[in-house]
């Protein structure tokens, strides 16, 4: 009776919630929309690994359930007496091991390694191409962002500084340098599929290129204290023209409004190439 009460509670509550949203189960389960140039590499590798996993797990289940059915003791009273050390047994076990290793593991390792060295850890050469530079300082429990301002030099009076509000353009490579003020945080852009830890005493880097304007979340992925769950920032992605407008205005306001005497203004650092 208790069980039926609980199930009814569960079903009414769950289903009531679902019916209010018109998302299908597939849409619920899908990751957030990919807005980056390279996020698809990660998604593709995920789905590829999933395909391989399903194949091998179906094999395991076929063995597990198939043998359980076929060799139930009433159906199959006389077991086959073998230690599994005949040549053919050893060959089959080794072949399965190698098949998994070569077909799945080495394959995804190769793909992932190529993606990492060629794309995600391959930072744009800032001497040759123009990138947007952003300094990020994490602290309990907010994100500070700093743009170089009109003079292009960090940690000067005209820097554009925002709190929990990151605005980026599309079609331009963006390089972040990230530090933490107090404890370890993790700068996570779910829509770009990337994160990197913000560590006190270290400078970490991340680069992205975005393609789709809109509003997206920025979250802290590393446990950083009681209000870890509230350490949310907002990412606004503009097209090139809108970003230029916003940036121009922000730079003008920075010159007007920054309190030059306030030491807290100068948390930035010299951009490290």
């Amino acid at each position: 009776m208790i069980l039926s009460y609980l199930t009814s509670l569960f079903f009414t509550q769950t289903w009531a919630k679902t019916s209010t949203s018109d998302l299908s189960w597939w849409q619920v389960m899908a990751p957030p929309e990919d807005i980056s140039v390279n996020g698809h590499l990660i998604d593709w590798l995920f789905y590829y690994t999933t395909g391989m996993n399903i194949f091998f797990f179906v094999l395991v289940c076929a063995g597990l359930f198939g043998f359980s059915f076929l060799y139930y003791h009433k159906r199959h009273p006389k077991p086959y007496y073998t230690y599994g050390n005949k040549k053919i047994h050893v060959i089959i076990a080794t072949a399965i091991g190698l098949a998994v290793f070569l077909a799945v593991d080495m394959n995804i390792t190769r793909i992932s390694n190529n993606d990492y060295t060629d794309v995600f850890a391959n930072f744009p050469n800032e001497n040759e191409e123009e990138v947007l530079r952003v300094q990020v300082m994490a602290q309990q429990w907010m994100w500070n962002f700093r743009y170089a301002g009109a003079d292009g030099v960090f940690n000067t009076e005209d820097d554009v500084i925002t709190m929990n509000d990151l605005r980026l353009p599309i079609n331009k490579k963006i390089v972040f340098q990230i530090v933490s003020k107090d404890v370890i945080h993790s700068f996570f852009l779910p829509n770009a599929r990337q994160k990197v830890d913000a560590i006190p005493g270290r400078l970490t880097r991340m680069w992205v290129e975005l393609v789709k304007p809109g509003n997206y979340p920025i979250v802290c992925a590393e446990m950083c204290g009681t209000f870890h769950y509230r350490m949310q920032a907002y990412l606004t992605v503009y097209n090139e023209a809108d970003f230029a407008d916003w940036m121009n205005e922000a730079e003008r306001n920075a010159v007007k409004e920054n309190e030059l005497e306030n030491a807290d203004l100068y948390w930035g650092w010299k951009w490290e190439l």
Binding site: V28, V60, Y80, D197, R202, A221
Partner: protein
């Protein structure tokens, strides 16, 4: 093989010497079992509170919430939530699974299965349990300190776990508790290794040992090597907290020091990655044996299974870097750690082939230990395969610190290990307590647990892939996670279902231990390893005569046998 005479002393007579300060490995094993079950209950209750907060944020925890959190009318506050998940992880790993799988089965099984009268160092064995009790008390006391228990996650990364992030004494007590537990486990590990090497019955070569013993042996080796590493790290953390050193504090705006917080992560994961194998190896061993016992067929490729477990043990020490990909490693290191991590799948695939080979053409009896063992094969399959996503660096950039990781490690460390532990408990129950547990309720327990745990952990992986990150009190302050409310409710109700199933187990267990009248026979499962050659429950000093081993542990279904389908290890292999 025994290197020295094993003397028989008189049986202890008083309650204190028999059940409390006992030097008898069987009693110590049972003490660890009760200890583990107690903490399993505590950790499980914490899990339900965590799940409740995630499905119904801001709603009072039902029934007992008002008594535990009176200040908020039963709603779990965010700082308490952080304590709950930190303590849940710590308790489950170090105070529930370790005592049950390693403390209870290690102590109980090792001498019995290798034909010894006791451990080599009974005093260290007794101290090992009482150190664990001291450690458990320190941990529980930390819950009642002014700023509460440790709240930095079970990994307790500095600088959050230094004074910068956790000023309360709870975090110091947490370090101290784990340090003391490390002493306890190291003593146990040294004892296990020595016992297995020196006290095997005459005639028992290493490959004549049951695979359970192989698993426990390899676990003990990892424990003996790596727990001191954790101890060192914790000691440095205690120094940072109490004496003002700066091993893990780096110069930053709000902190000063010349250390490095990432250093702790290295120390922690050098221990931490072997730790997951420390937990799973005994379960692998138990499962490898039980599949053979209940398929009534020799373990398929038993030698290969033992060697594969050994190679996993070696590899597990070389892969810890995959926990730290997001601290931005050099691609050279990610490459190395990724490749080494993936290499583990070769021995893992060999076990799976051997497990399936064992039940292939067997004559399978679906007893409760067998069901739980088959369950381990299923959930460990899922847990192992989902590890691939986290071993490859690019997918880890997205999945790291999301619920996908939580689901993955619960499949491997919680689901597989718990099911393996239940399999062992149901199986050795007659030898431990002299009674059998009720088979019907054991099977009900199995099926409900199976449904519940797959609902919970599969659900966690789905919400993790959908973007929900870990250790957040209320996921739904994020607009993009609001669509996951129904899924989170589903996970919570699955967890509650799984929790209820454990009540069935506890009732069944307590009833069998204290109230069951009918005694189990000496060999109810018709299995030939050494512990089944003596009466149930195992008598004082186990073996009147030290047995002489003449065949392997998995002699089933030999066509030359007449009358029964199994052979004791003390008999020559029957020849036609």
């Amino acid at each position: 093989m025994a290197f020295f005479e094993q003397h028989i002393h008189d049986e202890p007579k008083t309650f204190l010497s028999k059940y409390i300060i006992s030097y008898d490995h069987k009693v110590i094993g049972k003490q660890f079992l009760w200890y583990g079950i107690f903490f399993l209950g505590v950790g499980g209750m914490m899990a339900l509170m965590i799940r409740w907060a995630l499905a119904y944020p801001g709603v009072a925890f039902p029934v007992i919430g008002k008594f535990i959190f009176p200040a908020t009318q039963g709603v779990i506050p965010p700082d308490t939530y952080a304590m709950l998940f930190s303590m849940h992880g710590t308790i489950m790993i170090f105070y529930a699974i370790t005592p049950i799988l390693i403390g209870a089965f290690g102590n109980f099984c090792i001498p019995l299965l290798i034909g010894a009268r006791d451990m080599v160092f009974p005093t260290a064995n007794m101290l090992s349990f009482w150190f664990a009790v001291v450690s458990g008390l320190i941990l529980l006391i930390s819950l009642f300190t002014p700023l509460g228990a440790a709240a930095g996650g079970w990994t307790s990364y500095p600088t959050l776990s230094t004074m910068v992030g956790s000023p309360g004494i709870g975090q110091t007590l947490w370090c101290l508790a784990l340090f003391v537990l490390g002493i306890s486990s190291t003593m146990g590990a040294v004892n296990y290794i020595t016992t297995i090497i020196t006290l095997r019955a005459p005639g028992m070569g290493y490959f004549d040992m049951p695979l359970t013993i192989w698993g426990l042996w390899l676990t003990a080796i990892l424990n003996a090597i790596f727990l001191p590493v954790l101890g060192a790290g914790l000691l440095l953390l205690i120094f940072d907290r109490v004496f003002g050193t700066t091993f893990f504090l780096a110069g930053a705006a709000a902190t000063s020091g010349t250390g490095d917080p990432v250093l702790f992560q290295h120390v922690f994961w050098i221990f931490g990655h072997p730790e997951v194998y420390i937990l799973i190896l005994p379960a692998w061993g138990i499962v490898s044996d039980l599949l053979s016992f209940f398929a009534r067929k020799p373990a398929f490729g038993a030698k290969a299974t033992a060697l594969a477990m050994t190679s996993v043990t070696v590899l597990s020490t070389l892969v810890y870097g995959h926990h730290m990909f997001t601290t931005q490693m050099s691609p050279l290191l990610t490459q190395t750690f990724m490749t080494l991590t993936m290499t583990i799948s070769i021995p893992s695939a060999i076990f799976f082939a051997n497990w399936l080979g064992t039940i292939w053409k067997g004559s399978i009896q679906f007893t409760s230990p067998m069901l739980f063992s088959l369950g381990v094969v299923f959930v460990f399959g899922l847990g192992g395969l989902t590890g691939l996503y986290l071993g490859t660096v690019t997918t880890d950039l997205y999945l790291h610190d999301t619920y996908f990781v939580v689901g993955h490690f619960h499949y491997t460390m919680a689901a597989s290990v718990l099911l393996g532990g239940f399999a062992g408990t149901y199986f050795w129950m007659p030898k431990m307590f002299g009674t059998m547990m009720n088979e019907f309720w054991a099977k009900v327990h199995f099926w409900i647990t199976m449904i519940g745990l797959n609902g919970v952990f599969m659900g966690m992986m789905i919400v993790g892939f959908a973007g929900m990150h870990r250790r957040i009190y209320n996921p739904f302050v994020y607009e993009f996670l609001e669509r996951l409310i129904p899924l989170n409710m589903f996970i919570t109700w699955s967890a509650i279902l799984m929790g209820f199933a454990q009540i069935i187990f506890v009732i069944n267990f307590v009833h069998a231990v204290f109230f069951r009248k009918e005694k189990a026979s000496a060999n109810p499962w018709k299995v030939g390893t050494l512990e089944w050659t003596i009466p149930s429950p195992a008598p004082h000093y186990n073996f009147k005569e030290i047995p002489v081993v003449k065949c392997g542990p998995h002699e089933f279904g030999n066509p030359a046998l007449v009358g029964r389908d199994y052979q004791y290890q003390t008999e020559e292999v029957a020849k036609a």
